[in-house]
C-alpha cells in the first residue's frame, strides 16, 4: 500500500521552518543570538504569539536549539580542534561548515562528517588570528588537529570487522595483492605534539580550557590509532614503519615495497635500505597481529 505524501501547505511550512533553522546565529553582539528579522514571512504569519512572547521569539527557541545542539555535537567530535581555537572561533567554523553541509540523515553522528576536509578546502593559507590570549595558530596545525579528531571519530564509529588472517595460499598472492586497512585503524601524523594535547583536551572535556600548541616537533611523528574492544589506543611508529604503512594502504604490496626501497636508494641511508627486507617482514607480521588489515584483495 502506498501512503500519500504530505499536503502542499505542510511541505511549504516545513521548508520555511527549515530555512529559519539553518540561518546562522548572529555574532554581532559578541554572543550567539537568533536574529528573527530575517525569518521567512510565511512562517512568521503562521507562528502564534503566546503568553509573553511573539511568534518570532517562539520560533527562535528552535533556532537556538538547532545550532547549539550541533555546536555541542561537533565540540565533542573535535575536542582538540575546538580547544586549540577556542569555542567562540570553533563555533564559527562549524557554522560555516553546516551552512555549506547541513545534516541530511537520521544519524546525527554523521553531521560532523567532512568537517576536517571542509577546513582544508576553505581556510585561507595564513595563520589563524585568535583572541589575544591565544595568539595566532598555524593553519597546518589546525588542519592536523582536525584530521586527528576526525580519525578518532571514524575509528570509534567503525563497525566490528574481522581482522585479516592470512589463509593458505595467501603467501603466493601477497605480492600482487593489496591489503585493505581496517576501518577501526588509522595512521596519524603530527608536526606538533597534538596527540598528547588531545589526550589532555578529552580529559578536560567539560571545560573550555585553552590548550597551548607548543613548539613544532623537530621531526614529524606517526602513530597507529586502533580500537581494542571499545577502547581507542595509540601505538608509536618509527618513520619507516609509518611510511611502509602509508604505502601499503595505497599500492599493492610488491609495488609498495619497491617504492619504499626506491625512496631509500641514493639517499645516503644505505644501512637503513639494507635493513628494509627485515623491517618489512617484521612489520607485516606485526601489523597482522595487531589487526591493522581487514583483508587482502587480489585483482583477477
Amino acid at each position: 500500500m502506498t501512503l500519500p505524501a504530505s499536503p502542499a501547505w505542510l511541505l511549504e511550512l516545513e521548508a520555511a521552518f527549515g530555512r529559519m533553522l539553518r540561518q546562522p546565529l548572529s555574532r554581532a553582539t559578541g554572543a550567539l543570538r537568533a536574529e528573527t528579522g530575517a525569518y521567512p514571512p510565511e512562517l512568521l504569519a503562521q507562528a502564534k504569539p503566546g503568553p509573553g512572547l511573539s511568534g518570532a521569539e517562539r520560533l527562535a527557541v528552535y533556532h537556538r536549539q538547532y545550532w547549539f545542539r550541533l555546536f555541542t555535537l561537533l565540540q565533542g567530535a573535535f575536542p582538540l580542534t575546538a580547544r586549540l581555537v577556542g569555542f567562540w572561533r570553533f563555533n564559527q567554523l562549524v557554522s560555516d561548515f553546516l551552512v555549506a553541509h547541513p545534516p541530511r540523515g537520521w544519524n546525527i553522528d554523521q553531521a560532523s562528517d567532512g568537517f576536517a576536509d571542509f577546513l582544508g578546502e576553505t581556510l585561507p593559507d595564513t595563520e589563524l588570528e585568535l583572541e589575544p590570549a591565544r595568539g595566532p595558530l598555524p593553519r597546518a596545525a589546525l588542519l592536523e588537529a582536525a584530521r586527528i579528531d576526525a580519525a578518532y571519530h571514524d575509528v570509534f564509529c567503525a563497525p566490528l570487522v574481522t581482522p585479516y588472517a592470512p589463509a593458505q595460499g595467501d603467501a603466493a598472492r601477497l605480492a600482487q595483492g593489496r591489503l585493505r586497512l581496517s576501518p577501526a585503524v588509522a595512521l596519524l601524523t603530527e608536526s606538533w605534539p597534538l596527540c598528547e594535547l588531545r589526550r589532555r583536551a578529552v580529559g578536560a572535556q567539560s571545560t573550555e580550557a585553552s590548550l597551548v600548541l607548543g613548539p613544532r616537533l623537530a621531526e614529524r611523528r606517526s602513530w597507529l590509532l586502533g580500537r581494542d574492544g571499545v577502547r581507542l589506543g595509540l601505538l608509536a611508529l618509527e618513520p619507516r614503519e609509518a611510511r611502509l604503512l602509508e604505502l601499503l594502504t595505497r599500492h599493492p604490496v610488491a609495488a609498495a615495497l619497491a617504492r619504499l626501497e626506491a625512496e631509500y636508494s641514493g639517499s645516503g641511508l644505505e644501512t637503513e635500505r639494507q635493513q628494509l627486507p627485515e623491517l618489512v617482514q617484521s612489520w607485516l607480521a606485526r601489523s597482522v597481529r595487531l589487526g591493522v588489515w581487514a583483508g587482502l584483495e587480489v585483482e583477477s
Binding site: M1, L3, P4, A5, S6, P7, W9, L10, L11, L13, E14, A15, F17, G18, L21, R22, A45, Q46, A47, K48, G50, P51, G52, L53, G55, E57, R58, L59, V61, Y62, Q65, Y66, R69, L70, P102, P103, R104, G105, W106, N107, I108, D109, A111, F156, C157, A158, P159, L160, A184, R227, G229, V230
Partner: protein, 244 residues
C-alpha cells in the same frame, strides 16, 4: 531497583561497534524498550522502509515489548534538523499521521507508541487542540500513547492551556508508557524540555493524577548534566511514591 531501561533507537541503528558492545551488556541484565527520535512521521513522505527495517531489527535484537517515537516532524526536503518539531493541529494531519503510524506498527511487528511533544510555538492554521489531535491519531491508527507528562506540563505553560484538561482527554487503556523528566526555563520565560534536572513539583502532581487514572510503566528521562546514580534513583523512587 531498575525495572527496565529505554534506549534511543538511533544510537544503535548504525554499525559502530562500541555502542553495540554496550547494548549487549545492558540487554543481558535489563528489559529494554526502544524510543526513537528520527522517525519523522510528519515529514514530507512516509517513513523510509530502510529506516523501519533497522528499527524492527533492533527491536527484535533486544526483544523490546514495544517501540515508540514522537508525533512530530524532524526534517524535510532532504535536510534533517535533529529536533522534534511542531506542526499545525488539523484533521487532515490526523489522518496522515494515523496512516503512517499504523504502517510503522505493522512494520515493527509490535505495539507502537507516539509521544506528545514539548512545544514552544503554535500555528494559526491549527483548528484542534493538541490533545484532540493526539487522541485522534492514536484512535485512528490503532497505535498507542507514549505519554510524556513533563511535556504536557511544559506545553501547557508555554501555550496557556490546562494540563489537567489535556490529561482528561487521554484514553489510558491505550497508554504504553509514561515519561517524566526535568525542565528548565529560558531567560525569555519559555519552559524547555531539557532532561537535565529533577522533576518539577507541578509535574509530579500531574503524574500523580495520571497514575490515579491507571498505573503505567514509567521512565525517568535524565540525559544531560547527569548526576550520580544515587540521585537519579532517589528521583525515580518518587515515581513509585506518586503512583502508590
Amino acid at each position: 531497583m531498575l525495572d527496565y531501561l529505554e534506549i534511543i533507537s538511533e544510537n544503535f541503528l548504525g554499525e559502530a561497534a562500541p555502542p553495540r558492545y554496550h547494548l549487549d551488556r545492558i540487554k543481558e541484565r535489563y528489559p529494554l524498550v526502544l524510543h526513537g527520535v528520527g522517525l519523522n512521521i510528519l515529514g514530507p513522505t512516509p517513513p523510509e522502509p530502510s529506516y523501519l527495517d533497522r528499527v524492527a531489527w533492533l527491536a527484535d535484537y533486544v526483544n523490546a515489548p514495544f517501540v515508540s517515537d514522537h508525533l512530530c516532524w524532524t526534517g524535510a526536503h532532504g535536510y534533517s534538523h535533529h529536533d522534534l518539531l511542531p506542526m499545525p493541529y488539523v484533521p487532515e494531519l490526523v489522518e496522515l499521521a494515523a496512516e503512517r503510524a499504523a504502517l510503522v506498527q505493522r512494520h515493527v511487528g509490535r505495539p507502537f507508541g507516539l509521544e506528545n511533544l514539548s512545544s514552544y510555538v503554535e500555528f494559526e492554521r491549527s483548528s484542534l487542540s493538541e490533545w484532540e489531535f493526539y487522541a485522534g491519531v492514536v484512535e485512528r491508527s490503532g497505535c498507542h500513547y507514549m505519554l510524556d507528562v513533563n511535556n504536557i506540563y511544559v506545553s501547557s505553560q508555554n501555550h496557556g492551556f490546562s494540563p489537567e484538561k489535556y490529561l482528561a482527554a487521554v484514553d489510558f487503556s491505550r497508554v504504553l508508557q509514561v515519561h517524566i523528566a526535568g525542565h528548565s526555563r529560558d531567560p525569555n520565560g519559555t519552559i524547555v524540555d531539557t532532561h537535565d534536572q529533577p522533576v518539577a513539583l507541578a509535574v509530579w502532581q500531574l503524574y500523580g493524577a495520571a497514575m490515579r487514572r491507571a498505573p503505567r510503566p514509567t521512565l525517568l528521562e535524565w540525559d544531560d548534566r547527569i548526576p550520580p546514580l544515587s540521585e537519579v534513583l532517589t528521583e525515580l523512587a518518587k515515581a513509585k511514591d506518586y503512583s502508590a
